[in-house]
Symmetry: none
DNA sequence: GTGGTCTAGACCACT
DNA sequence: GTGGTCTAGACCACA
C-alpha cells in the first residue's frame, strides 16, 4: 500500500452516499460530538481524494436531515441533540424494516437464526 | 384506474435484478421445479408491465448462472439439479458475506441479540 | 431581442431554485398535470441555456418534496394527487408565515392595508 | 449554557444585512433619534456574538446611505433629518416593488383579499 | 478561511 | 433515449 488514505469505494453506492454514511456513523459514535466542527469540504476532498462537489453533496444531505448545521463563513458543525435521537431513529428503522427482511431471507435459506446469532460477537 | 404503471419496484435496485431475484426465489422454493417452463418474455413483460428488454436481461443473467436453459423454439426451462446446489451456494454466500455485515450493524446500533431472537417468526 | 428563450435569471436566487419554482408553479396551475411527463434534463438544459446539472439539481429537489417521480430510463413524471395538496400547502404557508411578516412591514411603514388591497387586481 | 452561538439569524440573508435592517428599523421608529450615538462596533459585536467585521459591514452600508455619520474618535451617530425621508423612501419602494409581487402571489394562490384583510391586526 | 453555484465534458446503468 | 455521478476548474459572498 503506497497511499495511506482514500481507497476502498464500493461501486454499488455513490461516493457521496458512502461519505454521508461514514460521517453519520462518526456522529453516532461521537467521534464528532455536538457542536464540534466537521472537517471542511476542501480538507475532506483532499483527504479522500475526491472532488469537493462530491463532499458538498454529502454535507447537503446531512444538513437536510438536520444532523449538521452550517455556520456561515465558519463551516459545518454537529447539530445539538443529534447523537441520541439519531441512534434511536436508526434502531427503530432497523427493527421495523431491515430485520424482518433479514428474517425472511434466513427462513428462505432454511437457516437457524439461533445458531447465527450465537456466532461472531459475544455481547448479548 | 387511470395509471398503467408498475407496482412496487424498489428504486435502489435495477428492475431486471429484482425480476431475476424473484425468479431465482421461485426456483429455490420450487414454485418452478426442474424441467418446468418459465413464462415467456412477452408474457412476463405484460404481467409486470415492463419493457421486454428488461425481462430479457433478467433471463440472460439466469442463463449465465446456469439456473435456466433455453430450448430453441420452445422457451426457457429450469435447469436440472439446480434447486439444491443453488440453495447451498446462497447459504454459503449469506454466511460468509452478508451475515458479518449484519452483525456489525447490530453491534453498532447496540442492539441485543436476545431481543432480536424473540422478534418476528418463531422458527428456530 | 435576438434570442427567444432563457434570459432573465434573478441573481439573488440560485438558478436551480428559480427553475424549481417555475416547475412547481407549472404543476400548481396544471400546465403539467398528474402523470404528465416533465421535459427531460437535457431538453430543459437546451431550452433554458443552462448546464444539465443545474436542471438535475432542481429535479432532485422536486423529487425530494414528492412533486415528481422518476421512472427509470423513461424520465420524470408529475406525481399523483399533487396539484391540490400543493396549493393547500402553499396557501397555509403564506397565511401563517408570509402574510404576518407583510402586515408587520405595512404597519411599520404606516401604510393602510385596506387601501393597498384595493389597488391592482379586482378579483375579491 | 454551553453554546455560545448566535440567536436567530435567518440563513437566506447575510448577517450584515440583517443587522443593517435591524438598525435601520431602530432609526425609523426613532429608537435611535437624530444625533443619538449608535453602540460601538465592539459593543454590538459582543452583544450579537458576531464578528466585528460583520458589524462594520452593516455600518458601512448605513454610512453610504447617509443614515448615520462617523465622528472621528467619538463613534457613529444618527444623521439629521433622516427618519422622515427614510420612511418616505421605504414607502415608495414598498409600493412600487414589493407590493405588486405580493399581489401576484396572492392571485396565484387564489386567496381572497377580503379574508386577508380580516386577518392579523386591526389597523386600517 | 468557509460553503455555494455554475460550467463543460465525460462515463455509466437503465429502458 | 432517460437520469445519475464524478471531475476539474472557475467565480462568488460571507465571516
Amino acid at each position: 500500500m503506497t497511499r495511506g488514505v482514500s481507497f476502498d469505494w464500493r461501486d454499488d453506492l455513490p461516493i457521496w452516499k458512502q461519505i454521508k454514511d461514514r460521517l453519520q456513523g462518526a456522529i453516532m459514535d461521537e467521534t464528532y460530538k455536538e457542536g464540534d466542527a466537521i472537517p471542511s469540504v476542501r480538507q475532506l476532498a483532499l483527504d479522500l481524494k475526491v472532488n469537493p462537489l462530491t463532499i458538498s453533496r454529502a454535507f447537503q444531505e446531512l444538513v437536510d436531515e438536520g444532523l449538521i448545521e452550517k455556520r456561515r463563513g465558519l463551516g459545518m458543525f454537529v447539530a445539538p441533540n443529534v447523537a441520541q435521537s439519531l441512534l434511536a431513529r436508526e434502531r427503530e428503522n432497523f427493527i421495523k424494516n431491515e430485520w424482518p427482511e433479514i428474517l425472511k431471507r434466513i427462513d428462505a435459506l432454511g437457516l437457524s437464526k439461533k445458531e447465527l446469532l450465537n456466532t461472531g460477537g459475544n455481547n448479548d
